[in-house]
């Protein structure tokens, strides 16, 4: 047991674990991850029936929550604590101790110097007092001893070192806390519509492991207006979206006063600790479908998914399960600026809505919704349906401008294009632990700078009397990196030269 502990906390093991962590993180970028999109993973496994399940078993699609990845970083941090705890204790002890004992022979130190003072100069004892002052001024901790001064500097380097690793530990801990209490959800809101922060309102919702519904702050949001600015000056980027602004009506809680606020990309809205981000947008044509019996079977906005960000040509899928006598389905495009070329095919030529048109195919039959299996709302399953309108059959496709209606074949009903609105895709995030993560990562950064750039040095000055002259000897020792030790010797030498009447050395030897 003791053997394993010693092994685990050795520097070499820590280094190996660190490098292993780098290697282990890589597969997460090579294979699709469930956390980013479970459906992509399932498709990937279906496409690779042999290797897919094996990789799945190995956790390649959940790398960052897999047993082996967690094992590596947990071992690494155990190793770190095991390594740093004794070092921290040791350093605490060092901090309370005086600088190290003066070595007998300073000449053996990597940097050494000797000066002989004029006979009218200070006595050895006075010189040592001066030397102590000088060393103190350049940040050394000093101790005046019999015949020498001991000095040490850069204790804070080790503190930085320990704090850096401690900071990383804090980051991991707070990320873990975040995993318990945070929640995130997505919601699409059409202009004029609203949203209340409760579970049923979300389109999708990912809670932390310790989430409970009472924790949801009871605020409400309404999308008043969504405004897009397009580039109309540039020739090469004509029509590129330059700015999105969602104007929201925010109700912080039941019965509280409503106020107006905006959300932009890179500029979220914060309400009750929940951050609301603008992550998507598009057009929502307002469509009314009357069924074969003359009843309104659907009326309202349909979320159209942008297919081409240059022209905002968008996919429209409308399922009308309430239609009688048969269910109806529509699939096609919303073209914000429709233009029909010589080939008779309508395309969108601008992302803004100058000439919006709906180009649809229609189906009747069974939408396949009744058996309870969840369906993708953006995919129309036409297996149980019969095509009514399409460019490829005698009825032709449906083309509707704003305000147009179309009577479906065989008395199946009518469809009308009443107008359009914009919608926004919002991400809502609540993560109280991010402040902890931010604090500890900043701490780690500051501590890293300290641990890399503060230099740990020891210095000793000895003074003796020889033939009526005071002879000063001094030596410098680096603990850790030796960079710049020479320069420090020169600096120390210069300050000695300033303080005392030094006899210039008569030999060409410069030490």
């Amino acid at each position: 047991m003791r053997f394993f502990w010693t092994q685990l906390t050795s520097m070499r093991t820590a280094l190996m674990l660190l490098l292993l962590l780098a290697v282990a993180a890589v597969p997460g970028s090579l294979f699709p991850q469930r956390r980013a999109g479970a459906d992509v993973v399932e498709t990937w496994i279906d496409d690779n029936p042999t290797i897919g399940p094996i990789l799945d078993f190995l956790g390649m699609f959940d790398v960052y929550s897999s047993v082996w990845f967690s094992a590596i970083y947990l071992l690494l941090f155990v190793s770190l604590v095991g390594c740093l705890w004794p070092r921290g204790k040791q350093h605490l002890k060092t901090l309370r101790q005086p600088p190290a004992r003066t070595p007998r022979n300073l000449k053996r130190l990597p940097e050494y110097g000797q000066l002989i003072l004029e006979s009218h100069g200070p006595s050895p004892q006075e010189a040592l007092v001066d030397a102590e002052k000088l060393l103190k001024k350049s940040g050394y901790r000093t101790e005046l001893r019999d015949g020498s001064v001991g000095a040490e500097r850069g204790y804070v380097r080790e503190i930085g070192n320990i704090l850096f690793h401690f900071g990383l530990l804090g980051v991991i801990v707070f990320m873990g806390i975040g995993g318990l209490y945070k929640y995130e959800g997505q919601k699409i809101i059409v202009e004029g519509q609203g949203f209340t922060n409760n579970l049923v309102s979300y389109d999708s919702f990912t809670p932390g492991t310790a989430f409970s519904e009472e924790r949801l702050a009871p605020f409400g949001l309404q999308l008043e207006d969504f405004d897009v600015v397009f580039d109309r000056d540039s020739e090469t980027h004509f029509g590129q979206a330059l700015d999105y602004t969602a104007t929201m009506q925010v109700t912080p809680g039941p019965g509280e006063a409503t106020y107006q606020d905006t959300i932009k990309v890179n500029d979220p809205l914060t309400v009750d600790g929940v951050r609301v981000f603008l992550v998507g947008n598009g057009y929502a044509p307002n469509i009314t479908v009357t069924d074969g019996e003359g009843d309104v079977a659907y009326s309202g906005p349909v979320i159209a998914q942008i297919q081409d960000p240059n022209t905002n040509s968008s996919l429209v899928v409308l399922k009308v399960p309430d239609a009688q006598p048969e269910q109806l389905g529509f699939v096609g495009l919303f073209l914000p600026t429709s233009y029909t070329g010589d080939d008779g095919v309508a395309v969108s030529i601008d992302p803004d809505a100058y000439n919006p048109e709906l180009i649809l195919n229609s189906y009747h039959g069974d939408l396949g919704l009744d058996d309870g299996t969840p369906q993708n709302v953006y995919v129309l399953d036409t297996d149980g349906m019969t095509e009514m309108n399409s460019r490829n059959n005698e009825n032709g496709g449906i083309t509707l401008g704003v305000g147009d209606s179309y009577e479906l074949p065989d008395g199946m009903g009518t469809i009308s294009f009443d107008g359009w609105d914009r919608y926004v895709g919002l991400d809502l995030h609540y993560d109280p632990s991010k402040w902890g993560v931010g604090f500890f990562s900043t701490l780690a950064l500051v501590a890293l700078v300290i641990s890399l750039y503060v230099r740990r040095r020891r210095a000793w000055v000895k003074a003796t009397e020889q033939d009526g002259h005071t002879v000063i000897e001094y030596g410098l020792l680096a603990r850790g990196e030796t960079f710049g030790l020479r320069e420090e010797n020169i600096k120390l030498r210069q300050s000695f030269d300033h303080t005392w009447p030094v006899i210039p050395p008569d030999t060409s030897e410069d030490k």
Partner: protein
């Protein structure tokens, strides 16, 4: 939003090409310096020998025929010494300064034309990155004799400029809302400077491995004699990497803050984030290796090389082929 200044944008593109051509000339001079190293050294040693012979003749002592000792030609602290003349390398540096001026004009003109930081797409990122590498290198040259990596630096800069103009030419334009953030300036600029330093230390580590082999095999000849000792290269790449590592850590943190502001998640294990983390871990390992027995020297050089290869991978393969939230920007 200020409209794009198309005239200035065209000048920018023209000067980018001009700069690339001047870099090419500089690259040739550095290569020439490398190739002619043996000859300049021989010339120097012949001169020294003549001087020594003269001295010996002048002296009354017994004439010996001992060969000229193999003098160390470069300082291990990479200070400039006047031991050997390297005219080709000096011309290379001078031409590189001219190229950097044209290059800087091109980058600044593009920034002014678009009224924003000139790293909003891969073309701009690569051309600005190349400028940073050049400037970092030239700044180091002020204090330290790093002429021995001149061929490498000009080569990398040329490759980046060619890659940008041939592979990812992009006309000047405004950036999409996702990139309109103050963090674009800090996060990306610090990352670029860090990468510039990592590129420099990468070349030093490669040379360290060659030099080490040469040191083991006995007398060193040719260009390798103009390269500082392997331990000096190791020390200096460690010092520089310590600076770059702090910057890389900042890049990670700044990126996380920006991600929180833009997407709500400060860390999402996005392909780009994974690789930035992997690179961070490799360099963290490199810094630790120095304090670990048995990991200095060759192994630490290999770690540094691996780190830089991961950076190159991150900015080429990951950018182009990995699905990532960062892909909209081309970086």
């Amino acid at each position: 939003m200020t409209p794009i200044n198309e005239t200035l944008a065209q000048y920018s593109e023209l000067f980018m090409l001009i700069a690339a051509l001047i870099y090419l000339v500089s690259f040739f001079f550095f290569s020439w310096d490398m190739a002619s190293a043996s000859r300049s050294i021989r010339k120097l040693e012949n001169e020294l020998e003549t001087v020594k012979t003269k001295e010996l003749v002048g002296a009354s002592g017994p004439s010996t025929t001992e060969p000229v000792e193999r003098k160390q030609l470069v300082s291990d602290d990479m200070e400039y010494t006047d031991s050997i003349k390297r005219p080709a390398a000096n011309i290379g540096v001078a031409i590189m300064i001219v190229a950097a001026l044209a290059h800087a004009f091109a980058v600044v003109a593009r920034a002014v034309a678009a009224s924003r930081a000139p790293w909003g797409n891969l073309y701009e990122f690569m051309t600005s990155g190349a400028l940073v590498i050049t400037v970092v290198y030239l700044l180091f040259l002020l204090r330290k004799d790093l002429r021995f990596v001149g061929t490498f630096v000009t080569g990398v800069v040329l490759l980046m400029m060619m890659g940008a103009t041939i592979g990812f030419p992009t006309p000047v334009g405004n950036v999409q809302p996702a990139l309109q953030s103050w963090w674009l300036i800090t996060h990306v600029s610090v990352a670029v400077v860090a990468m510039g330093i990592f590129a420099l230390t990468f070349s030093m580590s490669v040379l360290q491995l060659f030099k080490q082999r040469a040191e083991k095999q006995g007398p060193i000849n040719g260009f390798m004699r103009l390269v500082p000792s392997s331990s000096a290269l190791e020390n200096w790449s460690y010092r520089l990497n310590a600076v770059a590592f702090v910057m890389w850590t900042f890049t990670l943190i700044a990126g996380a803050i920006w991600a929180e502001q833009a997407w709500g998640r400060y860390w999402n294990w996005d392909a780009k984030e994974v690789w930035t983390f992997v690179i961070w871990v490799i360099y963290a390992g490199y810094l630790h290796a120095r304090a670990t027995r048995g990991w200095t020297g060759t192994r630490s050089a290999w770690l540094n090389i691996t780190g830089f290869l991961a950076i190159v991978f991150n900015y080429t393969i990951v950018n182009l082929y990995f699905p990532s939230l960062h892909s909209y920007a081309g970086f």
